[in-house]
Symmetry: C2
Subunit: 295 residues, 2 copies
């Protein structure tokens, strides 16, 4: 099965961004095409501003739009949209389309809040971790901050997910133009940047090995200023990847716009658990404390 990861920049407004995304999808060759987190807009969680809630008003329209893209191209398409359910309840939602039909959606369950990533202001946490059934397999769609949680990966795998897929928006904090604050300076050394990028890769690669599944992340690229002027902004680090069920790197992108593509073989992944039988030996009685905050 061929998979395409669309790694792109924000183009200054929704219309230009959508047009660009569509042109990339047209060029892609995958049966499964995956877009990055909140791909219709800038990563607006860089600051807390009520104006950005307007972006969620078009959720229903957006769903129709992407269903149509999926139908025309005859693909399974994973999108990441800002969903309004009612006044005061908004989700960070991945909607999965299967050749024009909605196969399912996943509402981000782990919501971050740290400088430049003020997502707790915008998003209600989703309350379900369930794989989504499609014509090409059971997809364990999770979103960004979820990727740091072995529990989320394991729950998906225990529920039968054959691939873990993380639309993502992650990068390094940029220093504000007029000053260098302590946090951005500390984070902007080359060594620190590499450490953060490698940590992000490592933890997800670990999920692949522990669960014997493919793991895919699709991240944005480009520098986006913090319009509020409080922080400098974020330089998104791209590096979208596919790791195999033994943690082997299958493909990894750079820091530029790119359609990152590879073939994967879900049957092969199923075979791995016969010779690496981690699931056989889980000591479930000893994991009780995992459902506690701390023990």
């Amino acid at each position: 099965m061929r998979i395409s990861l669309i790694q792109q920049e924000y183009k200054g407004n929704k219309k230009d961004t959508l047009n660009h995304t569509i042109s990339m999808i047209e060029k892609s060759k995958g049966e499964l095409v995956i877009l990055q987190e909140l791909h219709e807009y800038e990563y607006f969680c860089k600051s807390e501003d009520t104006k950005y809630f307007d972006y969620a008003e078009s959720f229903e329209e957006d769903v129709k739009f992407w269903a149509n893209v999926s139908k025309k191209k005859n693909i399974v398409l994973i999108t990441s949209l800002f969903e309004k359910v009612m006044d005061g309840i908004y989700y960070n939602t991945a909607v999965v389309f299967d050749k024009g039909k909605i196969a399912g959606k996943y509402r981000k369950t782990h919501i971050p809040d740290d400088p430049g990533f003020y997502e707790k202001f915008y998003f209600t946490p989703g309350d379900e971790i369930e794989p989504i059934y499609t014509s090409i397999g059971k997809l364990g769609v999770l979103v960004c901050w979820d990727q740091w949680y072995p529990e989320a990966a394991r729950v998906m795998a225990l529920k039968g997910a054959e691939i873990l897929i993380y639309p993502t928006a992650i990068g390094w904090l940029m220093c504000p133009e007029d000053r260098v604050d302590e946090l951005c300076e500390k984070e902007n050394t080359k060594k620190e940047k590499e450490k953060m990028l490698n940590a992000w890769i490592s933890v997800q690669r670990g999920h692949a090995v522990a669960n014997g599944v493919y793991v895919i992340a699709v991240n944005r690229v480009g520098k986006e200023k913090d319009e509020s002027g409080v922080l400098g902004g974020i330089e998104f680090w791209g590096n979208s990847f596919i790791f195999g069920p033994q943690g082997e790197e299958i493909v990894r992108g750079g820091m530029k716009e790119d359609i990152i593509e590879a073939e994967i073989n879900l049957k092969k992944a199923k075979g791995i658990r016969k010779i690496w039988p981690f699931f056989r030996d889980r000591r479930i009685k000893l994991y009780e404390c995992i459902k506690n905050r701390y023990c």
Copy 2:
């Protein structure tokens, strides 16, 4: 705090092996010294033979012996011994000594069984995952096969472990001298070997990132034949390592005998969770299915 990992070969019998281990410990400079899994003997689980149970008869003597080593050198020492509790109940047990006193023990909870690693024949699984309190910190001692389980790492971290430590015996299957069987041939390509080694590293590195803790593995080196002649034997891959709380490689050994040493800073690890606040956002209600075999 300085840590020493004693990565060694089996020297043909217990006496020579112990003498060699002692000479390596004497040369080491760590306050915490860690020995590999079942370091007194060959890795005898390469085949199933009742004669090896005799090795566990000296457990009480062994404990006294290592307590004395720990006292003389004035160190925290992590050993890995074959423990007999009664006829029919034997454990793969890490005993931790703190300057001559027993600080605690951990009985391996996840027991493997695959070609060349027939541990289910020898070891009853331990029934507790608890950190061990020592004068230098709370140690999350786990053993070998445990390292593939994110749950074991998480339980230790939730219970306050500051470092995860895995005495280990892992390597590649060797082909028998008189023939090349399918499994050993498949596993003996350079690419396959690298994939397995990297998977082993990746999954543990993932535990470091997910839990914001140091992760240490101490593995044996050398080729050990399967005396039963069924399999070729195992080439242990060494590569003992320390990863930092952001998954950064601090030190890693090669495939030869070595005292692998580094300084670590437990205070630094504690700071990481302030800016990478994964523990804050765990969605404990959504992890219910982890305590099931499958969902």
